[in-house]
Structures are given as C-alpha cells and as structure tokens.
C-alpha cells in the first residue's frame, strides 16, 4: 500500500487554519484528559478489588453483632484455626481507633503478630532492617506512608495516639514505614505488637479479626466453611469470607458512583465527536473548490472519503495523545490523590488505559468525519469547482 504518500495531504491541513486547529486540539485534549482521568478513577477504585483482593486470603470476623472493627474474637480461636489443614498461615489483629491530627480524622492502630504477619500479608515498602528493628522492640511501630504524611510523623519519632473513646491512648516509636498506595495493605495504619496493644488497652485475649491464607484458592471456600462450622456453637460464631468478596462489597457500595463516572466518561467522548465533526465540516466547507480540483486531477470518491476521514482521525488521535497522555502522566507522577478524609486513596493509571483512550480516539474521529467525508466525496465535481465561500 502506498498510503504514506498521502500523509502530507492529510496532516498539512492542520496548518491551513492554525487557530481553528489549535482550538480543536485544545477541545480534544481537554476531553480526552477528562476521559482518561475518569477511567483512572474507575481503575483505582475497582483496582482495589482486582489487585489487592485475593481469593486465597480469607477474613474471619464475628458473624453477628457490632461492626467488624469493634468485634471481639477470643484469642483462643487462633490456635484452633492454625490446626485446620490447608491453611498456610493465620495472623491476628486487634484494632484501636485513635484520633488523628485534625478534628474528625482517625488514626487506625493495628495490633499485629510479628511472627506470623508476613506469612499472610505482604508489607510493601518495609525493609528487612526496618522489620527487624520492629520485631526487637516491644513498643515499636511500622506506620503506613499515608498516615505518616497525614500526621507529619517521621521514622524514629515517639507518637501517642489518643483513643476515640474512653480516654485510652497508645504510645509507640516509629521504626519503619509501609508504602502508600492502593496495593499496599498498610498504607493508612500504624502496626504495633499485639501483646503490647492488648496490654495498654486492657483487652488481653481479645482479637478484632483474623486474616488467613489458604494453601490454594480452590481450598479457600472449604476452609472458610469448616472454620465457620467449627465455631458455630461457640460464644462468638464466625463468618469467614475471601478478601475479594469483602472488597467487592465495599466497591458494591460505590456501584452507582462508578456507573455514573463511566457514563460521564463516554458522554465526554460523545461531545468530542460533535466538536470534531463541526471542525471537520467547517474545514471541508471552506475547501470545497480544492475537493473539486482533486477530483479533477483524478482523485476518486473513495480516496476523498478516506482523506477526510483520515484527517478527522488524525485530529482526534493527536488530541487524545496529548490529553490522555497528560492525564496518564499526572497520575503516574502521583500528583493527585483523594482528600485525606476520604481515605487518601492515591489515583492510579496504567499504560493499558492510556492505550485504550488513544485507540478510542480512532472511532471518535471516524464518527466525527463520517458526515463531512461523505458530503465531500459525493459532491458533483462541477458544483464543487463553482463553489464560493
């Protein structure tokens, strides 16, 4: 195919009316910026489930009663769980909800077991040295980056977190930090030693929940079932679900919001089609005699159709590369995250999303160019040559 020779005939049209090209480019760039940003927002939120949510990891919490963060599981359950075959690891947590630096902001302190936590959870961004330092010291803590930043804490600092309720408080020394971000399990919490937290809160023997890891995803449902059967007649019956189901439900609460964001994203593209269609139509109308000339020189109808369509697609792709590219760059550079009081979730994008947006600009251009291209190619030559505008 010898199409490259026609490239200048398409691309050079941009210079014909630089102001219009610039305005169209800006309009397109803005739309694709918005589209990719919204897509990234969706990606971030659903990504919480898809990337962090595992079918192998199970959460065990009390079946009935108070919200899970106030749950009371007897610590004795842990030993019984560990003896169930098919479980690769189980690690207990005790929650302590403290006050944050600002009014209404919380700081979650997790009492955890240093010996078992890394068998079940990945501590992203925690170095071997940091973890060793934590393990050796009774009052040490590893704190997520997001929480550190929210409170202006530093490694090495001594921190006291006041409880939300009955005047309790926890004091600890920060010895390491976990990564921020959605794929980090501990970005917004402080991890301290379980026995230490139980002691200072006077909650010896109590756990809030237990995280388990099955040897394989196939075993997970059966394991969940046998755990819940085991404790069915105990004082605190349990409910064990996979991390994925748990997070799916969280995202389920956002289902309408996610749907709305998706719709708005595509509405933006629809608006873009109209904008580009208008530009191409205006440009073609002004070039009617040139189209007559090209037809006279022997350019066929189909050729004209493709030339105009390519022009529309070219515009759209250039706009998309700029707009989507800058949105992608902005998220990749981690310039944007949710407000801290909405979880401080860091917005993410990925190359696939960028590619998808840019690929979508092709149908956008085709749709936009269809009417003007059809019109241009069907115009009788003599009429086109007579045209004055």
């Amino acid at each position: 195919m010898n199409w490259p020779r026609f490239v200048p005939l398409v691309a050079r049209q941009i210079r014909r009316n630089p102001r219009r090209s610039l305005l169209t480019f800006l309009g397109l760039a803005v739309s694709f910026f918005l589209f990719t940003s919204l897509k990234s927002l969706l990606f971030t939120m659903s990504g919480v489930v898809d990337r962090a949510g595992s079918n192998v990891t199970l959460f065990m919490r009390p079946r009935y009663g108070t919200p899970f963060y106030r749950a009371e599981i007897p610590q004795s359950y842990l030993g019984r769980i560990r003896s169930i075959p098919g479980i690769a690891g189980a690690t207990p947590y005790l929650f302590f909800i403290g006050k944050g630096r600002r009014e209404g902001q919380g700081s979650l302190v997790l009492g955890a077991e240093a010996d078992s936590i890394r068998k079940v959870r990945i501590m992203k961004g925690v170095t071997e040295e940091e973890f060793e330092a934590f393990r050796r010291e009774r009052t040490a803590a590893i704190v997520g980056r997001t929480l550190m930043d929210a409170n202006d804490w530093r490694i090495g600092q001594e921190v006291t977190v006041q409880g939300m309720g009955e005047g309790k408080s926890v004091r600890f020394w920060i010895r390491g930090d976990a990564d921020a971000g959605t794929d980090s399990n501990f970005s917004n919490v402080a991890i301290v030693h379980l026995p230490y937290l139980q002691e200072v809160t006077g909650e010896q023997g109590r756990l809030t929940f237990i995280v388990l890891k099955a040897e394989s995803a196939d075993l997970a449902p059966a394991i969940a079932g046998s755990i819940d059967d085991l404790f069915a007649n105990f004082t605190v019956p349990t409910e064990t679900i996979s991390e994925k189901s748990f997070l799916s439900t969280v995202i389920g609460g956002l289902a309408d919001a996610l749907k709305a964001i998706t719709i708005i994203g595509y509405l933006t593209l629809a608006a873009t089609v109209l904008v580009v269609a208008n530009t191409v139509a205006m440009s073609i109308r002004e070039r009617t005699t040139e189209i007559g000339m090209l037809r006279t020189l022997g350019f066929g109808k189909d050729m004209l159709l493709w030339l105009v369509l390519s022009e529309a697609v070219f515009l759209a792709v250039v706009g998309a590369v700029a707009g989507s590219g800058s949105a992608w760059g902005m998220f990749e550079a981690k310039l944007i995250h949710f407000p801290k009081d909405l979880g401080g979730l860091e917005l993410r994008s990925n190359l696939g999303l960028l590619l998808e947006s840019i690929l979508l600009s092709i149908p956008v251009g085709l749709l936009a160019g269809l009417q003007p291209a059809w019109h241009a190619s069907r115009l009788p030559i003599t009429e086109a040559l007579r045209h004055a505008d």
Binding site: R12, G298, G300
Partner: protein, 233 residues
C-alpha cells in the same frame, strides 16, 4: 505522441447534448455539438457567458457527463467509462488549468505539482524529479519551495500549468487561465502555453472570453446559446 495518432482526431465529438434539470424542467445547455480536434492543436473556445463553453470543457475533461451523444478522446469513448475508470483516465490523460489556479495553500510549489503523481505508481524520488522538471519548464526552477501565498498570480498559474503538465497528459484543458491575471502576467502565461504547444506538441483547449488570449490560439471555436459556430473570427 506517436506519429500514427497524429493524423487521427484526438477529440471526436458527435451530436453531443447536455441539459440541466431545474425544477423538473429541462434546460438545454449544449445541443448537437459536432467537433473534431487533432493532436497538437491549440483551440480557443469562445462565446458569451452562458453559451456553454465551460460545460463543453468540463465534458471533455470528464468531470461532467453528457446527456446524449458521443465523446471520443484518443479513440476512447469516455461517456461509457465507469466513474472509477473515468477518475484514473482523467489522472493519466487530462491536465487541467483553472482560472483561480486552485493550488493547495499549505503545499509548496513542487508539492502542488506532485499532486497528480500521488495516484501513479511512481516512487517518491521519481515524483519529485518529474515535478521539478515540470517547474523548470514553466520557468519556476528557483521557486520550487515557495508556498502559493509567497508567489504572484502569474507564478501561481505557472505552478498550475506545471501541475497540468507533470503527468504528461494527452490533452491540456484550461478554463479562463488568464481571467484572474493582469495583462503582463496574462501575456507571459499565454506565451508559455504557446511554447508548450509548439515546442512540446501539447494539445490545448482553452476557454476564454479574452480576445488577446484567443489571438494566440491556432483555431477558434465559437459557441452561442449552446450551439457551435465554427470558424468565427
């Protein structure tokens, strides 16, 4: 042009009719046109406005279709060609010069001249070489990379002539080629066409209402109210 073709008429028109339909009513523009033009001729088509001279030119160029009659060019009946055949026929056989030059403003002179060659199988260097040669012939060897906006009207029309020449067509058609030029530039353009006709043996059919332009032609064909009035002046 091969010698054996020279004796045969290059353009043979038999009983050509062209009508437009306006509001369901037939408006005849050309009637009973019989015309024969030999290779190497320089014909001026003259007539008052509305006489149908541009329509006749358009029919010969294959950018308009006759209502009836026969139109044979270089032995080929072009009224029977399909639209696609007609497109490529035009590309290979016809060079067209417009009154308002119709150059692409965002292309340089040489790129404008290359335009018809884009449809040929020629490689990029071959196209460029031919376009440059055509520009040299029209005397614009030193203006190849100027854009139309940087050229005078006369120079722009020369570029257009080079574009008409570049594909080595059988027939060059010109629609009021001097209509938009001052008299000095018009003279230069006419001289150029004359020399292309004499030195390169190019066949020209030119629509004009300018007597000075007509004077350069070797044959005058008059049209009045859609009918041919051969000879004339």
């Amino acid at each position: 042009m091969p010698a054996e073709l020279k004796s045969l008429p290059l353009v043979e028109i038999r009983d050509l009719q062209k009508s437009y339909f306006r509001g369901g009513e037939e408006v005849p523009v050309l009637r009973e046109i019989d015309l024969s033009i030999a290779g190497g001729e320089f014909v001026a088509l003259m007539g008052p406005s509305g006489s149908g001279k541009t329509t006749l030119l358009n029919l010969i160029a294959g950018i308009d279709r006759p209502t009836a009659g026969e139109l044979k060019i270089a032995g080929r009946s072009i009224q029977d060609l399909s639209e696609k055949e007609l497109d490529s026929w035009r590309n290979r056989s016809i060079g067209f010069i417009f009154q308002f030059y119709n150059l692409v403003p965002v292309f340089t002179a040489v790129e404008n001249v290359e335009l018809p060659l884009l449809l040929s199988g020629l490689s990029a260097p071959e196209r460029r070489e031919r376009a440059e040669a055509a520009l040299r012939i029209v005397g614009l060897g030193d203006r190849m990379h100027h854009k139309p906006g940087e050229l005078s009207g006369g120079q722009q029309q020369r570029v257009a002539i080079a574009r008409a020449l570049v594909g080595n067509p059988t027939l060059i058609l010109a629609d009021e080629p001097t209509g938009d030029l001052d008299s000095k530039s018009a003279e230069e353009i006419l001289s150029l066409m004359e020399s292309l006709n004499q030195d390169f043996g190019k066949t020209f059919i030119m629509v004009t209402h300018d007597p000075r332009a007509a004077a350069r032609a070797r044959r005058l064909v008059h049209l009045e109210k859609g009918r041919l009035v051969e000879g004339g002046a």
